[in-house]
């Protein structure tokens, strides 16, 4: 039987990994991911997790080792954050192109310079195009559950694409909360052992990771694109099956809260979503029809789902813990593109918040909703607004 535990996001991920039984774990420590690898090392030491644990000398090597292990059919896990994620950038593209179904936890953390160990999404967003499936968890329970789901998604033979599970640094990785930890038997039943014909095999040798000339290369890239598109259906199926097995499901690519009749919708991802939920409740009590769209997967991007959810609202806002300097937040770019393709004409505002670990308060979220209300009334608002800047910025 499963049990209840009071765990941090990092520890919940470690429990999810233990239950998923990877053959090989290779990781390099970096704040705020470290607790995950510490817990996994403890589990291996105790024998509750029978994995080969590789103490690699860099993040590049961590992912490279996972690719090696995956290439002979092993289930693998790694975890990183921020500078480490960027250090393995080459391997990220390599792993998706190699179709290695690796699962990696990324503790979302700001990028230098200036140095910061605190949370934002600039690390994962800057690697949105690395070909990985990207999922963002809201709380510790979802973090644990999504480790297990991520293996089921990544290893599906229609997908065979690595999955990056993102947890907001500190706000999620270091916060303790109540978590249902499923039993090994339950997880074994849900997640069968990894089995693939596309591996190096002593009885059936393969050449892998090869070159291809311009005459074929684009076809391989098309396959990769199709696999991530196909993942949309697999993600929903896995989530439904998970719901049946464990009594918890998350809605697939997106989750919606109070959107049915909402006049004003904020789109957010990760742990910020919890704060938005709270504000939506408060505003509803005040008579304002607020709603929330939680993007769970940035790749594949839930464009149809978002269009459906916001179709009848008066204004849409997107909260980004990221900024593409000189333009706008990356989530906003994606949402805006989806709405434009669907010819949805409505005010769309981008709120940049929480960069470098700046707290995203309920007041910030209220401010965003009130900007949406004003925009829907025809008032001109900044299209890209930095929330809670501590200084004047007007010239």
């Amino acid at each position: 039987m499963g049990y209840k535990a009071f765990l941090s996001g990092n520890e919940a991920v470690a429990e999810g990994v233990r239950l998923s039984k990877p053959h090989v774990i290779a990781a390099y420590p970096i704040t705020p991911q470290t607790v995950v690898v510490e817990r996994l090392a403890e589990m291996v030491e105790k024998g509750s997790l029978k994995s080969e644990f590789l103490h690699v000398e860099s993040e590049h090597s961590a992912l490279s080792a996972c690719m090696g292990a995956s290439s002979i059919g092993a289930r693998t896990f790694t975890a990183t954050s921020s500078q480490g994620l960027l250090y393995m950038a080459e391997c990220l593209h390599y792993a998706s192109g190699g179709r290695f179904p690796i699962v990696m936890m990324n503790a979302n953390r700001s990028l230098a310079l200036p140095w910061s160990i605190y949370g934002d999404h600039r690390d994962s967003m800057s690697l949105l195009d690395s070909g990985w499936i990207q999922v963002y968890a809201e709380d510790a329970q979802e973090s644990l559950d999504m480790v297990i789901q991520s293996y089921a998604i990544a290893e599906n033979l229609k997908v065979l694409t690595p999955v990056m599970l993102n947890l907001d640094g500190f706000v999620l990785t270091h916060t303790y909360e109540l978590v249902d930890v499923p039993s090994e038997e339950e997880v074994d039943k849900f997640l069968p052992p990894f089995d693939t014909p596309y591996k190096m095999d002593l009885e059936n040798p393969k050449n892998m990771g090869f070159s291809s000339s311009p005459a074929d290369n684009m076809e391989f890239k098309y396959q990769q694109h199709k696999a991530v598109l196909d993942a949309r259906r697999v993600i929903k199926e896995v989530d439904e099956a998970f719901g049946k097995a464990f009594g918890r499901s998350y809605g697939g690519l997106v989750d919606a809260y109070q959107c049915e009749d909402a006049d004003f919708i904020l789109v957010s991802l990760g742990s910020t979503t919890g704060t938005v939920r709270t504000v939506v409740d408060e505003l509803r009590e005040e008579g304002i029809k607020a709603g929330l769209v939680k993007i769970r997967f940035m790749r594949p991007f839930p464009e149809e789902e978002i269009v459906q959810l916001v179709r009848n609202t008066k204004a849409v806002g997107v909260i980004d813990r990221d900024i593409s300097f000189g333009y706008e937040g990356t989530v906003f770019t994606n949402v805006n593109s989806a709405l434009a393709k669907a010819d949805l004409q409505l005010p769309k505002l981008n709120f940049i918040a929480g960069l470098g670990g700046r707290d995203i308060s309920k007041e910030d979220i209220r401010e965003a909703f009130f900007d949406l209300i004003e925009a829907s009334e025809g008032k001109k608002k900044e299209r890209v607004k930095f929330l809670s800047l501590g200084v004047e910025i007007y010239e």
Partner: protein
Amino acid sequence: MSNGTATINARNITDKEFFYGHKACAGCGGSLAVRLILKVLGERTFTVIPAGCMSAVGFIYPQMCFLNNAIISTFPGTASMLSGIAAAAKALGLKDYHVVGIAGDGGTADIGLQALSGAIDRRDRIIYICYDNEAYMNTGIQKSGLTPFGARTTTTPAGDNIPGTVTQKKNMFEIVAAHGIDYAATASIGYIQDFINKVQKASRVEGTSYIHVFAPCPTGWGIPEDSTIDIAKEVVDCGLWYLAEFEQGEFILNKNPKEFSPVEEYLKKQSRFKHLSCEDINTIISSRDKKWEKIRKAWKIK
């Protein structure tokens, strides 16, 4: 992971070829090294080759030139990918196999050094072989950390101001040995029996092993394509390369020439050294002599 106990030689080595139909330049020393390594290790071998000449000539879809399992790694990731395969093979309970990486001088001494150091530190059960052709050949003959003093490359052009490469070759063998590695050796494709003996020995090591094999590149060195073996022998005979091993914390010299063949003759055969002055050649000779003085004093001589 057995190879039997008998020494492998020209008569009893397997008929099977594991690196066939590749598109390396005619007379390529690196491709001969790969071919011989795989003939010694056999079909139950996982081979990792980083981006570089051997991967560029061996795996161009749909022409797959490795008959055993083989994969291209990232340029810096030869050793780390090997570690991953070795760990997975253990976790999956595979039996009787080898895990070998074959990387060039740049892939080993420059961009891949960090991963190699990590693998040796972990004592991962892998064989790492550096085929040294003394420059980045796949990209068109640029200087690497193993390009010797004096050599002209496309990034160390020789002219009135600079005599080609001004740095000394990194001492990979001793860098690796300094890790306390289980087994390391130097070799040359000019001394084939010695080389395959060492590969065979490496295959029986319980931890990490490293072999640094000198493998000339006719294209990059400006030598006729039929003289690869001769030049690889001559470099040992003139003392600019040596055949040695590192085992149980001890350096062992395998071949101690009574007399060296003339260094000038070795250099003059290669267009990459054509420009060297007498002074440059004297610099090379005196650093050779210094090295050998040290070797003969400190190493066990077999």
